[in-house]
Amino acid sequence: MVSLSGSQGEGSEARKGGRTIWTIGGGKGGSGKTFIAVNLGICLSRFGDEVVLIDTDLGGANIHTFLGLSYPKRTLSDLINKRVESIRDVVMDTDIPNLGLVVGAQDLLNAANPKEPQKWKLIRHINSLDVNYIILDLGAGSSFNVLDFFLISKNKILVVTPEPTCIENTYRFIKSAFFRKVKKVVSHFGVKEIIDMAMDQRNERGIKTPFDLIELAGEIDKSIGLRLEHELESFRPKLIINQVRTKSDVDIGFSMQSAFLKYFGISMDYLGYVVYDDEVWQSIQKRKPLVLESPQSKASKCINEITLKLILDKPFLFNSEG
């Protein structure tokens, strides 16, 4: 694969003093995004890197509850409403060394749908945060706001439970995310129009997959078609299957990987799975993070493995050395 942007994978940037953002999404509420984000963040902070967890669920922020903390004095809404100047001012300490937390807004006016300028300002603030790792916990749904936060990172992680409803949402989410991404990279008006059309599931042009879109765009302008093809190749989301009960649940990850590639042309890294574990439920009830409360539980071990895979991901190491 040829890199046009010249900046493949930022996964190990943090390991050499740079900064890495992981965005955690998936479209479906209740799939365990916040649970995964919090526990990944804690595992990561143990490596000595500075980690900040950001709850971008504007309107229904509750990441603090997972950490047993009460709603803080300063949140993202203070930043948006200019009561503070820097995102640093809304990073709150946790009891865990190296782990900071930014709580989303529960009170923001029309919070779930901030206006475009507000959102981009927020994204600029996030990008300016000078720490090793930033983990973004996204809200549910496939709205533009959620998608735009999802897309700010090259490390886009999908959390999926092995249920038809969640899988259905995931396919819709990833398709929308790709269309949203490419809309930003093309300037051709006609192609932009087609992308808008593609966002509608039942569009009149019959665009169902990225392939369909690329074909139509290529008919208008060959170089745009090629550009989109490159975007598709470098899109590469990562997948975590949560609440796995059986071996066939585990295999769903591999099957989705295969279906994504064959039908959408999207390569996906299957990071791993987290087993269904009563201890997860108990830890949430107690408002204590699983990896601290039950470090020996099966689910904790799964999360540790995923953290390692994310940090040591070979393609990333290769890229940072090359």
Binding site: V2, P162, I167, E219, S223, L226, I252
Partner: protein
């Protein structure tokens, strides 16, 4: 990155060209499971019609690749294509069609083996066929300026390699030349230029 209908049977079953019958059998079972109508992993992804078509292609891939005679016939066809795959519908093994019915000899000129397709020679071929660059631009949807640079091998003005490759493919098709042969030959000039630049 190809659509299912453009994938080779090996790509479809996700096995290597040298896969054993046993490997193919296992791969076939796996693919049938993924694309079964009750598979959760593809829930909501495909229309029933699409699913039926994909399953038929997987069945056909299995039938061909587990039959020694059909497989070697299929391999021969693939080799002839330089492993670039197909355009169009999946092959019918009963009567394998010519997949790239390209006429390699426009105006009766035969290109001998080893003929270099460079910017200049492509321009020459185009002009000898009496085709204006405007026509190529319209046909390929490639900007005329880019086409000129391709013919002049002004690589420093052109976008990255992926684009050049794509452009030349289209250019070759528009002239009814074998796109793969033209690209392989043309890009030698590109690599030479690239190497020179590194020194």
């Amino acid at each position: 990155m190809k659509r299912i209908k453009d994938q080779t049977y090996y790509e479809l079953l996700e096995v290597g060209r040298g896969a054993s019958t046993e490997e193919i059998r296992m791969a076939y079972r796996r693919e049938k499971e993924i694309f079964s109508s009750t598979s959760i992993a593809i829930y909501s992804l495909l229309e029933p019609e699409e699913l039926k078509r994909i399953n038929a292609t997987i069945d056909e891939a299995y039938r061909v690749l587990t039959d020694e005679r059909l497989r070697s016939e299929y391999d021969r066809k693939l080799n002839g294509l330089g492993e670039k795959g197909f355009s169009g519908e999946p092959l019918e093994t009963s009567a394998i069609r010519e997949v790239h019915p390209v006429q390699e000899e426009p105006g009766g000129i035969a290109f001998p083996n080893g003929f270099r397709f460079t910017g200049a020679s492509l321009k020459g071929i185009r002009e000898s066929m009496g085709i204006d660059l405007k026509v190529i631009s319209k046909k390929t949807k490639i900007n005329r300026q880019h086409l000129e640079w391709l013919e002049e091998e002004r690589f420093e003005n052109l976008p990255a390699l992926v684009y050049i490759r794509g452009f030349i493919m289209e250019y070759a098709r528009a002239l009814n030349l074998n796109p793969h042969r033209v690209v392989d030959s043309y890009l030698r000039s590109f690599y030479q230029w690239q190497n020179k630049r590194k020194v």
